[in-house]
């Protein structure tokens, strides 16, 4: 049988050692009437057949290998150096589990410590944990920290409407059992409108950077105003954009969270991704999830270990504020390898390629009759295009021409019919951009 090594003779020996005549006797505690049901599943397949079936399923999708990809909205098609995948395929990494036994897990522990360090470098924060499930759940966990910090006295959470719509949904799912108010994101409020909602009951304000529409805003005044009211500023940041733009730690963010997927993790239809979570030193003991610290062994040799364990659910049980245990360890490794390869200059270069290509595409599209792009506000690699037709029609025509078009903003923002969010990355060639522009021109 596929992955089971037992021979018939061994099985008999083992049953004899236990002192039973058959497998069935081992299950005598299971209620007799419910014992040994048949499972109505497709018949077993050989490895060759599985490979063929998986290939067929793969081919039944329109993917960035075959199509020019201009869709982002929280999941991005970026170049991943070959080394990243080779390191992820080291069985010593991907077939290990949580480093409960640090003496034989130093590889995972040190790599995670390096990941934490590089996330601090990117965000300008003091500490980062070993990851949450994705950017959305990181934001939801930030709310838990903010409530904790106010000792649950402050009950108001202010969200910008320009945070990814699904992140805001997840945040509401997480906190539906709590007596708190989540406001700010129902309208089209600008940053100044969020500031007006602040009061002594506000635990935190969250904004996205660049925001969901791709724009990079100066958040210094917001940070000062939030702090003056005694709340926390939480920034949801695209880590790749931080290759270019001021890190949130520098303008006063208390917590920085986001989606680490742009750092060497493939699209894979939405997951597994990487929720990063970075925080200021004074709040570090409030952080949920695993965190790796440096220490020494009994001989004084430098080593790494999971630390601040008493916060975790396996020790604190019902007094824990989060139940997270399994995180996205392998994805954090991917980000560590990616950032090590890119380094200071490579990451900046990738950021600039994104910036220049997106600005080239935006300028070309803005020139087309019937289309417009707001070129007055700074943006990174995404921008909103006002189009002359429903986005579904445009995207269908693009798909026929081998192009995956932008995200239809009307799905979540009813005031934006015929608006698409386009994403241009280092993977898009000038020829692809020109082709996109040509097709759009024909769709007036």
């Amino acid at each position: 049988m596929s992955y089971i090594p037992h021979t018939a003779a061994e099985t008999q020996d083992m049953l004899a050692k236990i002192g039973v005549a058959s497998f069935d006797e081992l299950f005598d505690a299971v209620p007799a009437g419910q014992r040994f049901p048949t499972l109505d599943l497709p018949p077993a397949m050989s490895e060759m057949e599985i490979a063929a079936e998986m290939l067929a399923i793969s081919e039944a999708n329109d993917h960035a290998g075959d199509f020019a990809m201009f869709r982002g909205a929280g999941a991005y098609h970026h170049f991943i150096p070959s080394v990243v995948n080779h390191m992820l395929l080291r069985g010593e990494f991907y077939t290990a589990y949580t480093p409960y036994q640090p003496e034989i897990s130093q590889g995972t522990l040190q790599a995670t410590y390096e990941y934490q360090s590089m996330m601090c470098a990117l965000t300008g924060m003091d500490a980062a944990n070993a990851s949450h499930y994705d950017g959305a759940t990181s934001l939801a966990e930030a709310v838990t920290v903010a409530l904790e910090v106010s000792r649950n006295r402050r009950k108001k959470i202010i969200l910008s409407h320009a945070i990814h719509p699904q992140y805001r949904e997840v945040l509401r799912t997480y906190h539906q059992g709590k007596d708190i108010r989540i406001i700010g994101d129902r309208g089209r409020g600008e940053l100044v409108d969020l500031m007006e909602m602040l009061d002594s009951n506000t635990a935190m304000v969250a904004v996205q950077y660049p925001n969901f529409f791709g724009q990079v805003e100066d958040l210094r005044r917001l940070a000062d105003t939030v702090h003056a009211s005694g709340g926390l500023l939480v920034v949801v940041a695209n880590p790749l954009a931080l290759s270019l733009f001021t890190p949130p730690g520098e303008f006063g963010a208390d917590i920085v969270v986001g989606e680490g997927q742009p750092l060497g993790i493939p699209l894979t239809f939405g997951g597994p991704y990487l929720g990063y979570f970075a925080i200021k030193q004074r709040l570090v003991r409030k952080i949920a999830g695993r965190i790796i610290g440096e220490t020494v062994d009994v001989e004084g040799k430098r080593a790494y270990v999971m630390t601040l364990r008493p916060r975790e659910q396996d020790i604190k049980r019902e007094r824990a504020t989060s139940n997270i245990c399994t995180n996205q360890g392998l994805m954090a490794l991917a980000a560590a390898v990616y950032l090590s390869l890119m380094g200071k200059n490579g990451l900046r270069q990738v950021g600039e390629l994104n910036y220049h290509k997106a600005h080239y595409a935006a300028a070309q599209i803005d020139r087309l009759d019937g289309y417009s792009v707001d070129m007055t506000k700074p943006f990174f690699n995404e921008f909103v295009v006002a189009c002359p037709r429903p986005i579904a029609e445009i995207n269908a025509a693009l798909l026929d021409a081998g192009v995956i078009g932008g995200y239809d903003l009307a799905q979540h923002y009813y005031h934006l019919p015929n608006h698409m969010l386009l994403c241009v990355t280092e993977c898009n060639t000038r020829a692809e951009i020109d082709r996109l522009v040509d097709i759009l021109e024909g769709l007036r």
Partner: protein, 505 residues
């Protein structure tokens, strides 16, 4: 020899990547918004490769040896599944693709939903939870909302046995409910008297439900499971099953048919998706009819298309679409779950079929019982008899007491660390909490008899050493890359970030 930290390999101007020059005119950058400094390391490609390969060699893993970490199901992770996950139509598929552009992926998710439902006897399954703990959270939120919708918001108590994994109580708190702990009886089972008491009087109207692990965290089948379920449901509570131990149940019993209302699966345990050094996991949830509308979304719905699809392979027979259940507790993460784990679980179930999965469970339980018999007499085996004193088999895992009356200085942790010197990963330590000095051992079905014999031999040697040369255990490990760590120092003098990564470094 320690591997240097990546920043120690850095030299100004070095690079590990080869990027193209811009092929478009450059645009001016907004200087007032730019950062001054980016304190990342600068390392060459080969140096990065060697660094991470050397780090990998400091790890113990399933690919290098037996990993009997109880409640984690460290079974072999098939290589073909890794290849499948890297196919371009799966790895390079955008999560916000229009449904017409991702019918293959949605078909896969739909099939997996229905197979998981079949395996566990549930009506409907959502694949969105990212890990077991998130699956639990989904389950408790569904139970909470169910009672609210029935006009019984006062039902806010979740009963949790004291043998439960720590995620269970933490989940209850996260959902805004209250936990009431239930003690175990002398046989390690739910104490039925305590359960009756908890479900009586004023408490009865406040019971929202109960969370149970099956087999229990002691690795034992609960002989009174039917009475437990009946008792909780008779006062209006719902039953949640923690499915971490599903490897002991496939084609042995369907939890949904036993009467559970809801459970989560750990695809990274039972269905072989790799543990990744701590994740990603995947924690699908299954529910019966009364909770199906509350599932976290989106789920994949299949609509049969008219016409004779069978006659023409080019015409699809169905169309798949996203569906948000009508009373859904909402989204648990962006997009639709850890699809990379779904596809591996799909390939795994495909390799076995229904009878094959039965064999998985049989051999997992065989291996655990065999190893337990090999250790009998060497280690105390708590709870190895039923309440009536009858002989009792374990499920896919079992607990031994990691201490000896005639070797008082030796603890479970010492035995674990000494196992490292013998070339094995230690079992789970100090869990479940109801057994002092517990070692929870789960060999899994993919380990051979030969390797189990070697592990038993090592455990026997260690038991002998514990009495004769206890210092060997207390000083262990001596052969690992590092010796025992100063964990107190790590927590006291927090050092969580390399100084070179700080601004201005």
């Amino acid at each position: 020899m320690s591997e240097p930290i990546i920043y120690d390999l850095s030299a100004p101007g070095r690079s590990g990547v080869n990027l193209p020059a811009p092929d478009v005119p450059t645009a001016p950058l907004p200087n007032e918004l730019l950062r001054d400094d980016l304190p990342l390391p600068e390392v060459g490609e080969l140096q990065v490769v060697r660094h991470f390969v050397r780090l990998s060699q400091l790890n113990y893993s399933i690919d290098t040896g037996l990993y009997p970490l109880g409640s984690c199901t460290m079974k072999y992770n098939p290589k073909i599944n890794e290849d499948a996950a890297r196919l371009p139509g799966l790895a390079q598929l955008h999560p916000l693709a229009d449904p017409e552009s991702c019918q293959g992926a949605m078909m896969l998710m739909h099939e997996l939903q229905s197979w998981l439902g079949e395996i566990s006897g549930f009506e409907a399954v959502s694949l969105t939870p990212a890990a077991g703990a998130q699956g639990e959270f989904a389950g408790i939120l569904m139970i909470r909302q169910y009672h609210i919708d029935r006009g019984e918001p006062e039902r806010d108590i979740i009963l949790v046995p004291d043998s439960a994994h720590g995620t269970n109580p933490a989940t209850v708190t996260m959902a805004g409910l209250r936990m009431q702990q239930l003690p175990a009886n002398a046989a390690g089972e739910v104490d039925l008297d305590a359960l009756h008491e908890a479900c009586s009087g004023e408490n009865a109207g406040q019971i929202a439900g109960m969370m149970m692990t099956m087999p229990s965290t002691l690795g034992l089948f609960e002989p009174n499971i039917a009475q437990v379920i009946e008792r909780v449901q008779s006062v209006g509570g719902l039953m949640y099953m923690d499915g971490a131990n599903m490897n002991a149940l496939m084609a042995v019993v369907k939890p949904g048919k036993l009467g559970f209302d809801c459970m989560h699966y750990n695809l990274h345990k039972t269905f072989s998706t790799p543990h990744g050094g701590g994740g990603p996991g995947s924690g699908a949830v299954g529910v019966n009819a009364r909770l199906r509308d509350y599932l976290p979304g989106p789920v994949v719905r299949r609509d049969a298309l008219p016409g004779d699809a069978a006659a023409d392979d080019e015409v699809p027979s169905a169309r798949y679409d996203w569906h948000m259940p009508s009373k859904s507790i909402g989204r648990l993460k962006a997009f639709a779950g850890n699809f990379g784990m779904h596809l591996r679980a799909y390939a795994y179930i495909r390799a076995y079929g229904g009878e094959g999965l039965r064999q998985v469970t049989r051999c997992a339980v065989l291996n655990a019982n065999y190893l337990r018999e090999k250790l009998r007499g060497e280690y105390a085996l708590p709870y190895d008899q039923t309440a009536d004193g009858a002989r009792r088999y374990c499920g896919h895992e079992f607990v031994v007491r990691g201490a000896f009356d005639d070797a008082p200085g030796v603890h479970a942790l010492d035995i674990s660390k000494r196992l490292i010197d013998y070339g094995f990963h230690p079992p789970t330590n100090y869990f479940p909490l109801i057994v002092p000095e517990a070692l929870l051992i789960e060999p899994t079905e993919t380990e051979s008899k030969d390797d189990l014999d070697k592990l038993a031999e090592a455990m026997r040697s260690i038991a002998k050493e514990a009495r004769e040369t206890p210092q060997l255990l207390q000083d262990a490990p001596s052969t690992a890359p590092v010796r025992r760590l100063d964990e107190a120092k790590a927590a006291r003098q927090l050092h969580l970030c390399c100084p070179a990564a700080r601004p201005g470094a």
